[in-house]
Symmetry: C2
Subunit: 336 residues, 2 copies
């Protein structure tokens, strides 16, 4: 297809042991509310600043995961992950509470799937238990990437709502006793794709071409077609980005309409006024670590393609006249 | 030693094919000036903003590496790396120019060594040619982490000078024809360590305990002693951090005084008024990809322990009263 190398690669022995998700009140009131492990009654999570609240969510997600996995912290060999706040402080400050090896990642809202890829490489070859962690907070993202919340800026109809939550997944290189096997089988690393979108309110349109590139490469490399998957699930393209992705792939002769969903588009009811749906690193992290993983374990999803999308700009690049480069990473999983 | 897991791991077949370094004028005028591949006559690198200049350095470093490695861009299977600017835009925007799979990393100034670890995992198991990339720019870092440059704030005597430059390393899973073998043999992933230092001008003191933790764990896990290494090289602890690291390790019965150096401490002459020396993600990236790699290839360094140190705060965490959590990653290399 392309002149450039487009390798996907496969994993021999990586199992998803379990996942844990924490969310804010708005996410709890959405269509997936009952699936999440923990919800806060307000988005401060008992802390004094939004940033500290985000860190608290990360600590709670990781602690919850340890409980659910029946593992002590000292049995975890490495934590990989990141978040949207400058210098990924939510993840780094959360990991200050746990003396564990830590690899910090950043690919914006694609960070959760990136963490599954790096975590799988570690579990497949070098370590036993690896935790993958990501999330976001509406208020930290809004004031960092857009406007001070106090300003009450009118939202554009193409905007999405940065989800408040954190999700954490435990990967193991051996099947645990009594565990239902969910395997991570393959990955395709995303390329930076920029179609020249300048509107920071329209992330779905900016990120869709990156998702298209990765989905197409993954299908080509794996020799599969969309119907081979129970579900193709993108991270946070939202309603508009989802529709663009479907259209762009259709033009390339790839029809994903029948089994395609987007975490951001699924996270809220229309009456919650998020316009195009959810966005943020929490989208794929909390949706995967709740309903999706549960359905993989229950055999309702046999084969999953999870595509984490991210927009790689910061607020300064927009001021300096740059468009928005985007990326999408993909992992493939099999339930039984 | 500790209740917690402390695993190091080894690589079977990861070779450092070559490295490339670009620096600003101040670094060219330092003691290592002659070793760098390219230097700019001024720190704008022909661009209009400091941020665009940093991106330009990353593009030039990666392009230079391709030339030196005699590889077309399409022969590179993945690029891994990151930088200090919010949302690692220097790396992400540089990678917009190359349609290659990209994993974004962030562990502050430890990002270069982190990229060598993740790159080694990829080259060891999944891909052939992987490029590892990091760097920093004095002016982007200064105005993002400290004060506007125009303010002319007096520098504290314990400060370091964020190095301007970018370094890039090509890893391969096979020895190239006529290549001198330099192998990456092992890695230890850092933990987040926070001794409560609050002074953002004193990064060396904040980061030293993280370096101590990682060096000690690496020696324990490998069953080696400091004298087994030709050189133990930390990233950007500077003169004060270097001295603290040496002292803290001595108190634990580990004497590294004879073969220990720090990239930041080696980068400038005292009369260049950087006080405690260099800092920033560029430190380890440009020093390793010039003199150090050359000396590994020439057989002057037989066995290297490279320890990349990073401070994981952002400017807001200091305003919110937090101390500075730090991390240090370690890779071990062998020349012949």
């Amino acid at each position: 297809m392309s002149f450039y190398t487009n390798k996907s690669f496969t994993f021999d022995s990586v199992y998803v042991h379990c996942g844990y998700s924490v969310v804010g009140p708005k996410e709890e009131n959405g269509p997936l509310g009952e699936w999440f492990d923990k919800a806060y009654s307000n988005d401060m999570a008992g802390e004094k600043t939004f940033e500290k609240a985000e860190k608290r969510m990360f600590i709670d997600a990781f602690s919850g995961l340890l409980n659910k996995a029946c593992l002590y912290a000292n049995q975890v060999d490495c934590v990989v992950g990141g978040d949207l706040v400058n210098q990924i402080i939510s993840t780094a400050f959360a990991m200050r509470e746990f003396p564990l090896p830590f690899l910090g990642l950043y690919n914006a809202c694609g960070t959760f799937v990136e963490s599954l890829i790096v975590g799988s490489m570690l579990a497949d070859n070098y370590l036993n238990n690896v935790a993958c962690l990501s999330g976001s907070h509406f208020s930290t993202a809004e004031r960092q990437f857009r406007y001070p919340l106090e300003l009450g800026v009118l939202r554009s109809p193409v905007t999405q709502w940065t989800a408040t939550g954190a999700g954490c997944t435990m990967l193991c290189n051996k099947l645990q006793p009594n565990d239902v096997p969910v395997k991570i089988t393959a990955a395709t690393i995303g390329k930076v794709v920029d179609y020249g979108i300048m509107d920071v309110n329209n992330m779905g349109a900016a990120m869709a071409p990156a998702a298209v590139d990765t989905i197409q490469r993954h299908l080509d490399n794996r020799g599969t077609s969309p119907s081979d998957y129970s579900l193709i699930l993108s991270g946070d393209l939202g309603l508009l980005g989802k529709s663009i992705t479907k259209d762009l792939l259709a033009r390339r002769g790839i029809d994903i309409a029948d089994n395609y969903a987007d975490c951001g588009a699924a996270l809220y009811y229309p009456e919650q006024k998020t316009y195009m749906g959810g966005s943020g690193a929490a989208c794929s992290a909390v949706v995967f670590n709740s309903k999706i993983l549960e359905n993989l374990k229950r055999g309702k999803i046999k084969r999953l393609m999870l595509v984490g999308t991210g927009a790689l700009m910061n607020s300064m690049t927009s001021f300096q006249g740059e468009s928005i480069p985007c990326i999408a990473h993909c992992v493939e999983m099999e339930g039984y």
